[in-house]
Symmetry: C2
């Protein structure tokens, strides 16, 4: 096969699943992982698309994730908590296992939360937020990462890039969704500046001595900074507390200790909070979904953009026209399918 190739979403899903099967993943791991990777590629989120397959397989080869794990629901005494143990596998099948239980509890109790434990997490959070919105729920998702970010006023890596995501359902159209790192930039962006030999923007990073730097090498040896100064640092710390410590899982420094590297997907937990707008608005005037549209129109009406619109546009195009992979990507998929873990250096 040579040149660019255009595949349907379903065809790409099959191909990625086959690669993961070849790499030793069981059917539920392979299917769930492929779904988030194909969703990334479909939405033109290249950093979370097929590019991620190799990293997932590298983590398998390093023995840091169990490719044959079967996630387990863990019964909880607290009635609005769903707990899923990923059993050392990837987070995605664990999320999928717990989702219907979380939805049911959120609808019953008005608010509910899911803790996913003992998982390897390498995907964006927006697929999970969107899964909640598809069930008519609003949601917040957060998780730690590896210690690569200094707290505001500090000098050393301690926090992770700790993503924070939120979704609100919009009947009849794509949901309101955002998903961002609580660091100013992702580590991969700094790596791109290094490769390009370009200085970083001010305020992204500090060097190993804790001094501000625009040198990408010095930044990678030092620490990234949080977005929004002390406010972003506070949110990053909240995520360590709620989505690491509170759910009985690793914090970002503990993740780094466990892995010893930032080149493998991180092992930790994840917290998902689900809200039923119907329950919260019960007995009050106005339909919350209709009122939210007024807010969105006011945002768009003054020339601002809602988050995720570029992703949704790409999704529309991929759905109607298929997903186009370039020659190098096709060759890499072929190679991974042929060699499995032997393709990983």
């Amino acid at each position: 096969m040579s040149g660019a190739t255009t595949l349907s979403i379903e065809a790409l899903q099959s191909r990625v699943e086959a690669i993961f099967a070849k790499g030793g993943l069981n059917a539920i791991q392979a299917a769930a992982l492929s779904r988030v990777i194909v969703a990334g590629e479909r939405d033109a989120c290249k950093s979370h698309g097929v590019y991620r397959i190799e990293g997932a397989l590298r983590t398998v080869k390093a023995g840091k994730v169990k490719p044959d794990a079967v996630p387990q629901l863990v019964p909880q005494e607290a009635s609005a908590i769903v707990r899923v143990n990923a059993m050392g596998g990837f987070a995605n099948p664990a999320f999928e296992l717990g989702l219907p239980h979380l939805v049911e509890k959120a609808k019953t109790h008005g608010i509910a939360a899911m803790a996913v434990n003992d998982c390897t997490h390498f995907s964006a959070l927006w697929p999970e937020v969107e899964a909640l919105t598809q069930n008519g729920l609003a949601g917040i998702v957060m998780c730690p990462s590896y210690a690569t970010v200094a707290p505001a006023g500090g000098t050393k890596p301690l926090l992770g890039t700790n993503p924070f995501a939120f979704g609100w359902p919009r009947p009849g159209t794509n949901p309101y969704v955002f998903d961002f790192a609580t660091s100013v930039a992702a580590r991969g962006e700094i790596e791109l500046y290094r490769r390009a030999g370009k200085p970083l923007p001010e305020g992204w990073a500090i060097d190993a001595d804790g001094n501000p730097t625009t040198d990408p090498e010095a930044a990678l040896a030092g620490a990234m900074l949080t977005f929004g100064g002390h406010k972003g640092s506070a949110i990053g710390t909240m995520i360590e507390l709620l989505a690491g410590i509170m759910i009985g899982d690793l914090t970002s420094p503990e993740v780094l200790d466990f892995l010893g590297t930032t080149t493998l997907a991180p092992f930790h937990g994840e917290l998902i909070i689900a809200f039923s707008p119907e329950a919260f608005s019960a007995g009050r005037k106005g339909d919350p979904f209709a009122r939210a549209e007024v807010l969105f129109e006011a945002i768009v009406g003054q020339g601002a953009r809602l988050p995720s619109q570029r992703r949704f546009a790409a999704r529309g195009k991929s759905t109607s026209e298929g997903i186009t992979l370039n020659e190098a990507e096709v060759a890499q998929l072929d190679r991974l399918l042929e060699l499995g873990l032997d393709a990983i250096a």
Copy 2:
């Protein structure tokens, strides 16, 4: 009475309560309002201390808050939601009424939320977050405000300064607490620059045409910006959705329509989310409170600060030495006590 005066916390509480009683507040409104104002003064948070009394009374005099309101618990079908209707009074007595129910529900269900509706809100959120931590719970509190902040990429005021607060209990010491506006700066700070005739820092505001400005006058006629660019804007929007629309209460533009001014305390709702770390960590290794201390030590150990430490230091001093008010503050309290609402221009 002349010169500075030092009062015990209890004595200041009595004096502020007496002022609010003179201003027509009933006993529960006066007591709850005085508690948050005295807490602000005690913690050397002057912007939320006795300075706020006049604004509260101005809102009473304008007929925009009911001074004799009696908050009511509203039975909810969803079992993890507590709803309190402030009945047009201040938020604080409504919060106090709902708190024990929220605590009980969070302990039973693991997570629970309280919606406070139809309230006038003028205090910081940290007293509420701290009330949760005193009950062994972690918590998030958020609310809209008036439309004074432009969404990222926008040109006009739409969002409020929408505060976001979080707390984590620390047995034996002051909790981990943060409480910040999702705008870069508070409107009051811009007013201080205006009075001082100084230009604003870059990135704080836009003028009425949507262009960046460092002119305080132009900023007050235009809009403030969110902290952290599009990320802070996203969080501000989330707060409109969850703590305005979802709980069936006003959004920031609706608040401004209702009041017609930003000189009175805003009328809207408030969302409080409570988490039981004990429930969330049940069955997992490690004590969450002990593990959180390791994280805090790592933050402090690299020279970074935990939020709220200045407040806690001031609190310690106020508790042992009393609260000192300057001559102008004492004169103003005397005047308010003597004249009640007649003291308000």
